[in-house]
Symmetry: C2
Amino acid sequence: MNRVLVLRILGILLAFLAAVLLAPIPFSLYFADGAWPSFLLSSLICAALGGVLILKCRSPREMAVRDGFAVVTFGWTAFALFGALPYLLSGSIPSVLDALFETMSGFTTTGATILPDIEALAPSILFWRALTQWLGGMGFIVLSLAILPMLGVGGMQMFKAEMPGPTADRLKPRIQDTAKLLWGVYVLLTSAQTLLLMLGGLSFFDALCHAFTTLASGGFSPKNASVGAYDSAYVDWVIILFMFLAAVNFALHYQVLRGRGREMWRNEEFRVFLGLTLVIIVLVMWANQGAVYTSLSDNLRYSTFQVVSIFSTTGYATADYGMWPAMSQYLLFLAMLVGGCAASTAGGMKVARLLLLIKHAQVQIYRLIHPRAVRLVKLGDVPVDREIMQSILGFFALWMAIFMVATILMASTGLDMVSAAGSVVATLAVIGPGFGSVGPMENYAHILPFGKSVLVVCMLLGRLELFTVLVLFFPTFWRK
Amino acid sequence: MNRVLVLRILGILLAFLAAVLLAPIPFSLYFADGAWPSFLLSSLICAALGGVLILKCRSPREMAVRDGFAVVTFGWTAFALFGALPYLLSGSIPSVLDALFETMSGFTTTGATILPDIEALAPSILFWRALTQWLGGMGFIVLSLAILPMLGVGGMQMFKAEMPGPTADRLKPRIQDTAKLLWGVYVLLTSAQTLLLMLGGLSFFDALCHAFTTLASGGFSPKNASVGAYDSAYVDWVIILFMFLAAVNFALHYQVLRGRGREMWRNEEFRVFLGLTLVIIVLVMWANQGAVYTSLSDNLRYSTFQVVSIFSTTGYATADYGMWPAMSQYLLFLAMLVGGCAASTAGGMKVARLLLLIKHAQVQIYRLIHPRAVRLVKLGDVPVDREIMQSILGFFALWMAIFMVATILMASTGLDMVSAAGSVVATLAVIGPGFGSVGPMENYAHILPFGKSVLVVCMLLGRLELFTVLVLFFPTFWRK
Ligand SMILES: [K+]
Ligand SMILES: [K+]
């Protein structure tokens, strides 16, 4: 690994963080919440450290693929560490671990919170909380469409096909081009949602915070009661639409904006995601009708909201699904595992991987019946390379193994069975709310420090598609 | 598929069943429990139907590999159907579905019971119940060492390596040779355990029933309180030893009996199984100490018994692990998923597959760091063929998918979250007792008919390594 170059890039990232830490200051001044000095000081600390790194670390060499792992993992970690400064300096979150948890939950777009009373915080702090998610979401799209495919992580090579642009071997040109295009799509969708929410009666501040955390599939709401606080069917449906869109491959959005709407429909992952969403909504409504909701229209509205919120791994709530029948909760659990589409801001394992796992199993069965037949797994019309299939299968096995081990660790802190598994799936799949004592109407304040640390690692592992983080734990990674 | 030949073999299997249905009659006469006419009548029915099939169905063709799937799946199903006759005819279990559940639970060596009061049954019926497991266990060893590898199911080709004997392409000679050798090992171990249990004060009847259901990793006990009824440390430790042995590859036992004891230690799967057993025992003891047991010796005895009972997928109980801390329960849950060694009578996914999944993930990570390096997954010194690795990965993905879908189905019958997942893992991994309302001190009587049907299918799927059953649902299987 080229340590000097990695440190230099971390310096650049810190300088960028220093700049965005200034963004909440206008809100602080407007609302006169007195939190602006914390942001200024945080920004200065990041600028100073970033400046030192940029000046001191100069490397003549180009960035190698292997350095990418270190940059991504340490970059996200640095953002979580230094992004926590405003919480600490303003006294909004006094504990360092809690502040780190909240910031990691932000930049990974998880949305799990340790705050029992969100509305007690200064508006500019709430804006920062939403902004961490928005930045994290943008970061993840670029990561999954431009960086991970190049690193060869978890079969992500499969899902960049739709993206135009140069395909040079080096990271730089492609990242910059891709980032610019997608940044445009992301900003456009965020603006549209902000506008539509304002038409529904939300203040600019509320609308913007919700648009930030919807497009990021984040789920941090500035309200204690989440989206339920507005008690508006219009707001619910607008957010349902944008939660769904945020969980769709952003390369497809780009195609649609270029007038190639048919590309979206031709995309197999999108069709399966849409179909699965509808099926799960119907099944949840079937289980909830009578048991939770007597009116069909209430059932439609609240069940749809919760299914889309969970399937897109956003994590907003308008209902306490912890009180729903076990069948509904397991359907939501399944949706959590699957997550949205690849190259969206959603977490989980991604619909495309699920689809390929099912097709792989089908091919396996077919080959038992016809041992001499050759049949390839395909996504759309594209045959899936053996290597890619292997890494997707490896990803799935590793995901399950980490899920199991982390659940045992969480249970060791004294959580009950449902809450232990619920907290792990909620963080590893970057959902936010889980089941049991970390359900949609609860928070993570009561988790013991060891448990919070485990969940912080789960968020990072989940958001960076496991492998990006795990390679760093192999001694061979550090050898020249 | 060669339907005539498959029907003929089913006829032979029914004739065999007719013979073994006579075995409980001496016990019935000895205990004068009056159940012998049910066995005689059941035997006659099987003999008649079997005879007709043997006489009417004659095929000049040899058995093809594809026919093997149908023989295995329909054979096991026929045993479960016709083996239920004594329960029904004697009135011990009046409901057809319940009798089928109990018999399927027997022949698949699951050990889940719908009987709230086991001791109320006639001794000869209890003997039959234990015998179904013993036969099922023997059947499964032959299946996994001789038949599944030939069918190419779930990478089972990997685990037959240690077995001597001809390697002809056709099923017949190999099955017969393998069966004879293993039958000897199985009978020997069963006799040894029966003797040791009788030395501990058990009656011949109790000792034999427990030896039958231990060696089969079955777990049907003729006592309501399972092995806990004897309240004897000696009995507990004897059963712990034989539960462990039953979960070890029987080809290794054969080698040990031939004086090649080193083969067992050289076997990587065995070493990992032993190591994992010890690690899980220590972790469970750590969680249970103070919380469940105050004395270390009690903790050692009961925790070890339960861990080995669950890890070997036997399912006997001397303690209500449903009252243990969530961490202990999740460790048992993990042990359930993994199961014992391949080619033993244990269920679950098998230690060897887990081991290969972990090695596969390691290789994946290694290849991210060294993209041009070639590194193969190995078990012991043997490199694992790509195709076999693919089918093991496919097996794992399919196992998880079936687990998820079946859990949702069980939740739809109104079970709580823990019981829904608990009942599925208990049957799919052929354990017997699960979690929640199907825990070790409970039974399956309260499950609704739809739920019982789902679990019957799970037992069959789990015991026959998924693929053997699933191929029959592919239309292409039935085409000429
Ligand atoms: K989220
Ligand atoms: K069992």
